[in-house]
């Protein structure tokens, strides 16, 4: 029985990759196959969620059978699209040809790491407060009812939480035929591996130091625990971290459309990522007006479309916003904004030096940012990303100011999870600074 469940779980993961691959191939890349598992996973999870959200608006329920049938259809291009088949076969042949001896030891270390993570992860089911009471509860509700409705959305508080992670779980449950808090952990583990793989793909042009950067990311204690720990594997923070990383890393290569898509999907995962998306919409025309702005107009349209979809979907389902439906006059009267902001910043300051969670990752980030700070202002891409980080930080500060719960308690119980959302992005930012010369960005890797 467990072997069958394992097989179906792996099929579910493959279905996410396949969805993303098809979206990338047919919609984004003009029928050219650029192989990137992280991008495919990000797009696949997003497509799966948006599809179910649209079906909910149309009041079209789905069943286990429908999802399995749709999954089978996903693989038809291998049969009917000769161009697709040829490119896929060509990629597999190229994999077989590339053999670099120097890569063997790091790959063995990576495989050992993944094996250990899998043993830790699959020694338990999800058993965390947010995982059980919010995210996987929604996944089960949507699976059991076959559709998202106002009624089942209202059963879970806070009701204005986005649903990308629960809907990924719902899809998984449909394929498995039941709701299951054990096998679903394959999703966060896969996200972690893809995040690390994409990180390495970007840094590998730097030679041997690339392994050091990758080790700092991969062995960041809290990062792998968000995938493997029973308390956190059911949370959505790792997915937000993944999408923010994909978005920011694409911005360094001026892949604005991909960045817009991933910021949009991040905001569909948790409201925490909304400041970055909103900041992108506001700042992109300012940073890239004139010149090559035509390239970014499409990205702006995509980002704006995600923002509008995000908000209007919530309005359609009557999901009251915790932050918008607040009496601001009471908040401003009762809460000194500078005091609250200072407390939040002190919280971040304390969090960065929690070496049991982050190693000395923030020391590395701080060192490269402070010693190469001039490069940020000399390079528009770095400055744009830096300002987006600032927007994201402002968003966090704002949340801790307006939250109805006690600020100190909220910070103690949630700030480390917010920091985990931006850690990989900050690390790649620090790496990019380290390889940028004073005049501007000088990356060799021009691919996504």
């Amino acid at each position: 029985m467990w072997a069958w469940d394992l097989l179906i779980s792996l099929l579910a993961i493959v279905s996410f990759f396949q969805m993303g691959l098809l979206v990338d191939y047919y919609l984004l890349n003009h029928r050219r196959l650029h192989f990137n598992l992280a991008v495919f996973l990000g797009l696949g999870l997003g497509f799966c969620a948006i599809l179910q959200m649209l079906l909910a608006v149309l009041a079209v329920p789905i069943s286990d059978f429908a999802v399995r049938g749709f999954t089978a259809v996903l693989f038809l291009p291998y049969i009917f699209d000769s161009n697709f088949r040829r490119q896929a076969a060509g990629f597999l042949r190229s994999l077989g040809k590339s053999r670099k001896v120097g890569i063997i030891v790091p790959v063995l270390v990576l495989l050992a790491f993944i094996s250990v993570i899998l043993v830790i992860t699959f020694s338990h089911p999800v058993w965390g407060y947010d995982g059980i009471q919010r995210w996987l509860l929604k996944a089960r509700l949507f699976w059991a009812d076959g559709i998202i409705t106002k009624a089942n959305l209202a059963l879970v508080q806070p009701a204005d939480d986005p649903n990308l992670w629960p809907l990924s779980g719902t899809w998984f449950y449909h394929l498995l035929g039941r709701s299951d808090d054990f096998w679903i952990q394959f999703i966060p583990v896969t996200v972690l591996v893809c995040l690390a793989a994409d990180f390495w793909r970007i840094v590998k042009t730097s030679g041997k130091v690339s392994w050091l950067w990758t080790a700092i990311l991969l062995f960041c204690p809290f990062l792998w625990q968000t995938a493997s720990s029973e308390a956190y594997s059911g949370n959505a923070d790792l997915l937000v971290s993944f999408y923010l990383f994909l978005a920011f890393s694409r911005l360094f290569n001026k892949q604005f459309v991909y960045a817009a898509i991933f910021l949009g999907l991040g905001a569909l995962t948790k409201n925490d990522a909304l400041p970055a998306l909103a900041g992108f919409c506001v700042l992109l025309p300012i940073f890239y007006r004139g010149g090559k702005f035509n390239l970014s107009k499409l990205a702006l349209a995509v980002a704006a479309a995600f923002l509008i979809f995000n908000v209007s979907w919530k309005l359609y389902f009557g999901m009251n916003s915790r932050y918008l439906q607040t009496d601001w006059s009471v908040i401003f009267r009762q809460r000194p904004i500078f005091g609250y902001t200072k407390y939040t910043l002190q919280g971040f300051r304390e969090q960065f030096r929690q070496i049991d969670r982050w190693g000395v990752g923030f020391l590395v980030i701080g060192f490269f940012v402070l010693t190469r700070i001039r490069r940020i202002f000399n390079d528009r891409r770095l400055l744009f990303v830096g300002v987006l980080f600032g927007a994201q930080l402002l968003g966090y500060i704002w949340v801790y100011y307006v939250t109805s719960e006690d600020q100190a308690t909220q910070i103690a119980t949630s700030l480390f999870r917010l920091v985990s959302q931006i850690f990989p992005s900050l690390l790649i930012f620090a790496y990019t600074l380290s390889v940028t010369n004073v005049e501007g960005l000088k990356l060799k890797d021009g691919k996504k």
Binding site: G128, A215, I216, F219, C220, R353, F367
Partner: protein, 162 residues
């Protein structure tokens, strides 16, 4: 002295090291800058691997990993996984009711697993309201309005008598 204490309290070795390394970077020549940057990366990577391996060693339990999946889940969920399966098998379709609050995760977990049966949480001593069935996790309840209809591994299902 007070200033030094305050700096140490706010910054500690972490931020003092950051300030020191940053200042050092601007005082050394180009080649030394490269060595310093690479040295920091090596130290950070080694440190990350060291503390991660320590943490992994505590959590890596092959005997638990090799247990049957149902046993693993029951161990984590205090047997609420198998209790939920049992309840879903015996509750009539559309049955709703109340669930006595035991502790947060166990209660929320059972609520989740019982859906589409809807069991709202109930505090000790509160009235049953419209609840037809009442579940008590981990301990029996004594109430003249409750009739025990099932017990399973120290979890109890009652019917509310009108």
């Amino acid at each position: 002295m007070a200033l030094i204490s305050k700096i140490w309290l706010l910054g500690g070795w972490f931020y003092l090291a950051l300030v020191f390394l940053t200042a050092l970077f601007f005082l050394i020549n180009k080649k030394q800058k490269i060595y310093l940057s690479d040295g920091i990366l090596v130290g950070a990577a080694v440190f990350a691997i060291f503390i991660s391996l320590q943490s992994m060693a505590k959590q890596f339990q092959t005997n638990t990993f090799l247990d049957p999946i149902g046993k693993k889940i029951d161990k984590t969920t205090f047997s609420q996984f198998s209790y939920a399966k049992h309840l879903n098998a015996i509750l009539p379709k559309g049955a709703n009711g109340c669930l006595y609050w035991s502790f947060d995760l166990a209660t929320y977990y059972l609520q989740k697993e019982l859906y589409p049966h809807r069991f709202s949480t109930l505090g000790d001593g509160l009235p049953f309201g419209e609840c037809k069935y009442v579940i008590s996790q981990f301990r029996p309840r004594v109430d003249e309005k409750l009739r025990l209809i099932d017990s399973y591994q120290n979890n109890y299902l009652y019917e509310v008598m009108n």
